[in-house]
């Protein structure tokens, strides 16, 4: 059974339809990359998957034991966060909040989860450092560790490499692939970077284009939309 099923989903805001006819399923262990031009509705789809925004019509179902709040989320950085006085530890720990319910404070095991995730992503030694003094790549790791505290099943990444330099970008992609392969975490990633999408992802969803494409990577590369998009983006892929 699929973790996420979209059936005839139509998305939009303020009465305007942005994407329609979305039909796809995500299974445990998939690595789905959502691509498309600016304004094609990638972010809107993301919000709908996170239940932050209801679809205009159709439905988004969760299954396979995945509850809707078990989706870890790596948002794009907001301006608020760039100047926020908080230690790495405090931020990562805040990912455990959904385990608390109405309990006011964190338990020892939650602190342990936070610590484990920091070590896993190689930011354990930064625990006491201030978030705003870290480099872009380190900040992304902090937010990724927080997302891992919220879930063990699925990660939703919104442009995870935006603003990172090329070396750090590759590191970030490799980290995500490792989480997917070694820990079996389902990945859904929104990206501009078509080259990386076809290199790392197992499935591609191309939106903002009629007809929409959803399928495995190999089919995408052989489809019309895939070929024309690759040509435009200048992606050289084996």
């Amino acid at each position: 059974m699929a973790q996420i099923i979209c059936e005839d989903v139509v998305l939009g805001y303020e009465g305007k339809v942005v994407v329609k006819g979305l039909n796809f399923s995500v299974f445990c262990g998939d690595y789905l990359c959502i691509v498309g031009e600016n304004g094609s509705g990638k972010t809107t789809l993301m919000k709908a998957l996170l239940k932050l925004k209801a679809p205009v019509s159709g439905q988004i179902l969760t299954g396979d034991g995945l509850k809707s709040y078990e989706i870890g989320y790596l948002p794009q950085q907001t301006t608020v966060q760039k100047d926020f006085p908080a230690s790495v530890e405090e931020i990562v720990l805040s990912g455990c909040l959904n385990r608390c319910g109405w309990r006011p404070f964190y338990k020892k095991e939650e602190r342990q989860i936070a610590e484990d995730n920091m070590n896993k992503l190689g930011i354990g030694r930064l625990a006491k450092r201030c978030y705003r003094e870290l480099s872009g790549g380190q900040q992304q790791r902090v937010l990724l560790a927080r997302a891992l505290c919220a879930t063990r099943k699925m990660l939703l990444l919104d442009e995870p490499v935006a603003g990172l330099d090329p070396v750090v970008t590759v590191e970030m992609y490799e980290l995500i692939t490792r989480l997917n392969k070694e820990d079996g975490i389902t990945i859904i990633m929104v990206s501009h970077d078509i080259t990386a999408a076809v290199r790392y992802a197992s499935h591609i969803l191309h939106i903002g284009y009629e007809p929409l494409f959803f399928g495995v990577k190999a089919d995408y590369l052989n489809s019309d939309v895939g070929r024309s998009f690759m040509a435009v983006m200048g992606g050289a892929v084996q």
Binding site: P75, V80, P85, A86, S87, L93, L97
Partner: protein, 284 residues
């Protein structure tokens, strides 16, 4: 120096001075706790806006000659706070514009109502004391002091119990919502507490100067400290110390209480800026 201490000792023999001191310290403490969240959420002006609303409500209450003006001021301020803080991103008129609109509107209506309907002989004096703080802090009754103590305890307890949630909602509201936290409820809670603090603080520093109590301690603490917890603690300490100093100075020098406290807060801010630049920030 000895003279000043003697003079203060003399003042502290009067219960109303002690009451004023207790209430002042509590208000300073409460407002600084929430200040950190408001500053970080870019809502620094909310204190200002809400206090103008409270001023408008107070003017109406005076004209209606309500014996207990809290009956009107508290609900009106509460509703405005909830509207401002919880309308969030989807509102047609966004954050700063909404606050500016409500704040100026309430101020104008308050002054208009007072001028047209007031029976008082000294309208200018009335308006001035509500805006810049009056001597009412020195005429508090025992009941009012207990009310203030009670409300402060509630505010502090709520803040401590919801500390982790307030942090999460302040740092990243969307993430909190996406991972199943009831961010809307926490925002509502923050709005309610802010409204309570504003209404309380009107007695101390007056409507125009409340936002100073809210933002200065938080900004000072953020110059030096770098984790959320240390910023909150530091801003609480700074706020209490400044409020006490301000009240002592104003008692001895006979200056207006509200503006003296704000000036002390400004001096503290300047000092913290200096420390921040000099130390390049303390690891905390």
């Amino acid at each position: 120096m000895i003279d000043i201490i003697d003079e203060l000792a003399l003042y502290f023999q009067y219960p109303f001075v002690r009451y004023a001191m207790i209430v002042g310290v509590l208000i300073a403490l409460c407002s600084s706790l929430l200040g950190v969240t408001l500053v970080l959420k870019h809502f620094s002006f909310i204190g200002d806006g809400l206090s103008h609303v409270a001023f408008g409500a107070m003017a109406v209450a005076t004209v209606l000659s309500l014996t207990n003006d809290m009956v009107l001021i508290l609900p009106v301020t509460l509703v405005s706070a909830i509207l401002l803080l919880c309308s969030g991103q989807n509102a047609r008129i966004k954050g700063d514009a909404a606050i500016a609109m409500i704040s100026v509107g309430a101020l104008a209506i308050g002054y208009l109502v007072m001028n047209v309907f007031s029976t008082s002989a000294n309208i200018t004096g009335d308006v001035c004391s509500t805006l810049f703080g009056s001597t009412s802090i020195l005429t508090l009754t025992k009941t009012e002091v207990w009310l203030c103590v009670g409300l402060s305890v509630v505010v502090i307890a709520v803040f401590i119990l919801f500390y982790n949630k307030i942090f999460a909602v302040t740092f990243d509201e969307k993430f909190a919502m996406a991972t199943g936290s009831k961010a809307k409820i926490y925002n509502l809670l923050i709005a309610v507490i802010i409204a309570l603090i504003i209404v309380l603080a009107m007695n101390l520093v007056g409507a125009l100067l409340i936002s100073a109590l809210v933002i200065f301690p938080a900004l000072s603490a953020m110059r030096v400290y770098k984790s959320f917890k240390s910023v909150v603690i530091c801003s609480a300490v700074v706020s209490v110390v400044c409020a006490m100093l301000g009240m002592l100075v104003s008692t001895v020098a006979g200056t207006p209480v509200g503006s003296t406290i704000v000036v002390v807060d400004m001096v503290a801010f300047a000092m913290f800026c200096g420390i921040g630049m000099f130390a390049g920030g303390v690891r905390a």
